[in-house]
Symmetry: D2
Subunit: 265 residues, 4 copies
Amino acid sequence: MSALVIAGQRLNSRLLVGTGKYRDFALMREALEASGAEAVTVSVRRVEVGAAGHQGLLEALDWRRYRVLPNTAGARTAVEALRLARLGRALTGSDWVKLEVIPDPTYLLPDPLETWRAAEVLVQEGFVVLPYIAPDPVLAQRLARLGCATVMPLAAPIGSGQGLRNRAMLEIFAQQRAQLPPIVVDAGLRWPSEAAGAMELGADAVLVNTAIAEAQDPVAMAAAFRQAVEAGRRAYEAGPMPERAVASPSSPAQGVPLPQPELPL
Amino acid sequence: MSALVIAGQRLNSRLLVGTGKYRDFALMREALEASGAEAVTVSVRRVEVGAAGHQGLLEALDWRRYRVLPNTAGARTAVEALRLARLGRALTGSDWVKLEVIPDPTYLLPDPLETWRAAEVLVQEGFVVLPYIAPDPVLAQRLARLGCATVMPLAAPIGSGQGLRNRAMLEIFAQQRAQLPPIVVDAGLRWPSEAAGAMELGADAVLVNTAIAEAQDPVAMAAAFRQAVEAGRRAYEAGPMPERAVASPSSPAQGVPLPQPELPL
Amino acid sequence: MSALVIAGQRLNSRLLVGTGKYRDFALMREALEASGAEAVTVSVRRVEVGAAGHQGLLEALDWRRYRVLPNTAGARTAVEALRLARLGRALTGSDWVKLEVIPDPTYLLPDPLETWRAAEVLVQEGFVVLPYIAPDPVLAQRLARLGCATVMPLAAPIGSGQGLRNRAMLEIFAQQRAQLPPIVVDAGLRWPSEAAGAMELGADAVLVNTAIAEAQDPVAMAAAFRQAVEAGRRAYEAGPMPERAVASPSSPAQGVPLPQPELPL
Amino acid sequence: MSALVIAGQRLNSRLLVGTGKYRDFALMREALEASGAEAVTVSVRRVEVGAAGHQGLLEALDWRRYRVLPNTAGARTAVEALRLARLGRALTGSDWVKLEVIPDPTYLLPDPLETWRAAEVLVQEGFVVLPYIAPDPVLAQRLARLGCATVMPLAAPIGSGQGLRNRAMLEIFAQQRAQLPPIVVDAGLRWPSEAAGAMELGADAVLVNTAIAEAQDPVAMAAAFRQAVEAGRRAYEAGPMPERAVASPSSPAQGVPLPQPELPL
């Protein structure tokens, strides 16, 4: 399989993971290990206020093994996102930022205008910007031209587990991949098959948090997502069989029916 | 992961594969190796008439490594299927038979009445019967009570690559699994994600032929299916997160929005 | 729109309806009126035992206006279905019978083997047989050759309201309509759009009960189904636009973009 | 059925139609008549340059019967859209404008940032603005707060005929309808059932052009869309039955199976 390269950095796994919603840090560490992920996102705001499950989070992981990806969850406006991005850089030493600007508490959908404003400033300030967006291919292209390092369209609302519901628009992202940075499908997945499906349609990576952290067995689920993402990418590169409107028997002899008359039982 | 047991025999892989449509035997052998499959199905009728790609097929594989699963493809009636099943037993020494009774050359869909008639006789003759059927849960239960060793509902027409189109009915199979032998989803898959999806909904195994044999790179695709089937089963056993109508942020602090007023840029 | 002809009888509506689950007969009568349906199915067994909502049902409707379609709901075997079919004929004077043989109380799915056995006898006894079946195109063809007057594949389990979940198999029915009697999609619908969708893919009629009877306003919902079925049939006959992988602007001038440079705001 | 009100104007039909792609004006007039639509959109740019099918278009329709809805198709930027909106007002005397800002010629997807910029100016200039947008609920809410008269999310790319592919996001629009002006699903439909489905999920109206104009029989298809939109709205207001995971028989007596033993045949 080909490697994923974001902003010139090679990542050996096409699965990115989050750190929220785990029962405890030990389980989180074990799940991250099983996932094979190299890039791990952390909520700057939740670390800042010491939200449940976030006290000591930055110390709980071995950052020599993982690339930290601070995110701006909690920001409702561009201004708030900028503050969190800068705080994230100060806390982690990383220029990378997963940009989330989310005014809506029910569906946690991102604001395209505020995201755009924040991305413009952050790129100028030298951040490596990975914006979380609605599945809007034109917005993605504009963020690409601005210099964003990825585009991160949502498969379904964050934490909803509804799966690859925006497949139609994600297929257009994939068709336009020549004009886009890596496409990271982010949010809404529940099952590994959905992650595999995102890779098969041409996504470069997927980001998963809730589907692993809230599985009954998060470690086994992390391992399952790892395999599924690899399977999906491998299949994409292998090239699928053609789809057909009708059936196709297993040999050119068209079913090779038996001659008539037939012997009795 | 738990093992698959069919008719008392433990199979280490939940992926079963076919032998049709490969460019040559060397490629087939390599793809089978990459698939990790233990059970391999062979068309008795095509071997009998030496159809394209089937001359020497039985000699081309090392049957110490694989469990041979003769199939009755080419049979349009119960009578024809019985002849092929018996011939398959004579040729391979195996009691197992993948029962296909297919009158329709366009969609290659099985005949429920003829399949039933043939299964009844074959079970009485001591065969281990694995019938290929439409996604009809009541037919499946009746075949189970007859003593069939699996039920093999189709995801989509053979070789069509349309994917998990009969998901709704397959979900009913899975709900009724306590009354069924192993459920092997057979036919119609194109992508590994679809195989993973079948496993996640509760199938016990999948059988894939065309999707591997007609991939641009069959060996890589076989490896992808292997991973996907394992991922799907692992996820099924791990237990998924709940699905939600709305979004769910990554911590109990509900998004932890920033206090107002906000600092200026 | 072309007329629906079943067993030589012309029906002016392609919507067939049931009589179960209504709050009272007055509401049922009003809903049936609004539906425009001509064929109305009645459970012989429920009338026989005077089940809730079925005492006096046969007297509650003006059978000069409606064609009664006795059904064998409650039958779990061919033998039971035969008894109910004959009883239905005695009670109603009609030779038509909607044949339901349903062993499974959870999903109410029909038994293909018992249905086949019962159909064979009923056709010989001069009944006009309309069998309720799983979406199995080969079973449908066999019932057609037996002389059944329609085939009635299920869209989803009875009363589940899950919609056109077996679309893939129903499309195969439609492809094979030259070899089939009228295809009546029966069971599982919830919304008029689903009834329209069934007609658009080539079904000849739909049968709806729960979606009307359990709507909050059954009379309005009946009117909606009436319109939707007509819309779907009309669209099927009108012939749709081609589907395209990409967009298509509204004129040959390809978007007619404006010349550059552009005037300032 | 309740009436559709846009910017204080009552429209008696919830189906809006376009004027592109018709073979000739006579056919267009007949199809518009059959559609029952009151609001009809016209490409200002194509009229301006006299593109194929647009010479004399404004004179070909009786504008006492229809509300003209000039659109800015052809605009790739906010600046271009403003010019076309103003030209449309001058040509038609109407303040209403369907705002389309589309930089992408392949999928004809709108630009959220340029649309926003143009909408801001047009609202200030007193236009009644109906913006065509990606299925982005947050963008929709921002345009609503700006004072737009509708939001017009796309079901699928213009003219693609792929149907209600963005259903998941459109459902979120409908959930948030209290904070939105009328939701007009625009673009991508092929079948009347899809228009009905959009209405059933809570859209206020649909706009259809290609599906009617490119049908084999545009007049019949227009009538079908008319019925389907009415059916969908009526069903939405009637309130559907509940959806169930399993089946539900047609009476409380749970299938009323027959007593055993059974009489012989």
